[in-house]
Symmetry: C2
């Protein structure tokens, strides 16, 4: 099995991809990975869909609605925060506000006098550390590279933080079996109660929604498509009924069934 | 009135800020802008909240839930796409897939033979153009700087694309009057139908939701806070009733009223 994911070697994505394929190659963007699978160049692609700090990976959501692929598995991996700096002598820790919050206990105990600086992402903070010896960033130990020191590992307050990946495959491999399903809905309409109607289609059949995300259609401000994850297999009658309702609501737009899948936890 | 927004001079943010203040200063991140207003350093901050191509500005959503500020106005500005390259001789146009889609008519007519490359953002595409003479990007003409040529202006298919900004102010200036309101809800709970209950609180009072966005709480995967924009003033009885229901749903968490406001359209 040949898979493609985000490089370089050692990223969370690479670790997740090794769980589904022996032969892993790299592309530089999520869009390129999903397009390569849609074109039949690879049997599988592994892309991050959601992270407990940064939230949804919007590039992945958009790639899944723009390309004809299926989702065959979900992989969840824990986040491990390390403190990364050019040396132990720094006066500022720069990271995403939620990563700072997740490491608060450690930072207050070990570095009570350093300034905390909120930046747009954990990657931005590590970049700041790379360019400024007075700054430390927070990230997976593998992000240290050659120029940063791993000052401390596993500094997060608890272990429950994680990243979710989707394994994508050609559309012919779409499965209806599995405990969770994902669909993309573009109603191409906007009226009071539209979103409520969509949610009721599932609630009436006692199907739990694990997540709903809106993304701009790109056509006009306030026009959205919805990524919906729900806890039922597409083969189930209640799921088929709910989706029939959803298709009626989206009669001017479209509904894309990405597939059903199970969750695999990759720990390391 | 002194306001702070994203620089450099000439950005969309700067244009929007000039509509509310004569004296505009710059900070390099949305987080820094919102924190500076919360600290009382500036009377107003102007931050992008949503864009019809890129979607929500997640850094703004997070800054609004992390800081004690109010929202006093919404500003909407049109997007103007220009084709930016080192010269008219390029073989690839690199941009966000939705910006490419928005300029399809123009590109097919004028450049039928160039390759279209989807990248993570319009900014990434312009960066590619800056580094590679064979690549063109798509962006506002002011992004050309000294090293790129404006090959063509206003190449978008239609004029309805826009960016939405929030004007933030110290919490003491929170207004209950205005046609729209924004709140942030952290239920600190997760059970089937939770989101549906939140939406019903508004639907039952015939209040239209113009937008709902989930953001990770940062505590654990699958734990969200919700940014809700609705079409009613906080002073209205139906809004107060709806928010009382929402507060009961979020009894283990919290509800933050950002304020009510009107929309101002800035055209140029």
């Amino acid at each position: 099995m040949k898979a493609v994911t985000l490089g370089p070697a050692g990223t969370y994505s690479h670790r997740a991809a090794r769980a589904v394929a022996d032969d892993v190659e790299f592309r530089e963007s999520v869009s390129a990975i999903v397009a390569a699978v849609a074109d039949g160049e690879y049997e599988r692609g592994v892309v991050p869909i959601e992270n407990s700090i940064e939230g949804s990976v919007t590039e992945t959501l958009d790639a899944l609605s723009d390309n004809d692929v299926s989702v065959t598995q979900e992989i969840v991996t824990p986040i491990r925060h390390a403190l990364l700096a050019q040396s132990g002598n720094f006066s500022t820790v720069a990271s995403h506000s939620q990563a700072l919050a997740q490491c608060r206990t450690y930072l207050e105990a070990e570095y009570p006098d350093v300034a905390l600086e909120a930046v747009a992402s954990t990657a931005r903070g590590v970049e700041r550390a790379r360019n400024d010896p007075a700054v430390a960033g927070i990230g997976h130990p593998d992000n240290a590279g050659d120029d940063l020191e791993i000052v401390a590992e596993d500094i997060q307050d608890r272990q429950s933080n994680a990243t979710r990946f989707f394994v994508v495959a050609p559309p012919s491999e779409r499965s209806d079996a599995g405990g969770k399903s994902s669909v993309v809905v573009y109603p191409n309409a906007n009226y009071p109660g539209l979103l409520l109607e969509l949610l009721e289609a599932f609630a009436e059949r006692n199907i739990n929604l694990s997540r709903i995300e809106s993304r701009p259609s790109g056509d006009r401000l306030g026009d959205y498509l919805f990524h919906i994850d729900f806890e039922a297999g597409l083969y189930e009658e209640r799921a088929q009924e709910a989706l029939a309702d959803v298709e009626a609501i989206a009669e001017k737009g479209w509904v894309r069934r990405l597939g059903s899948y199970d969750t695999r936890h990759v720990l390391y």
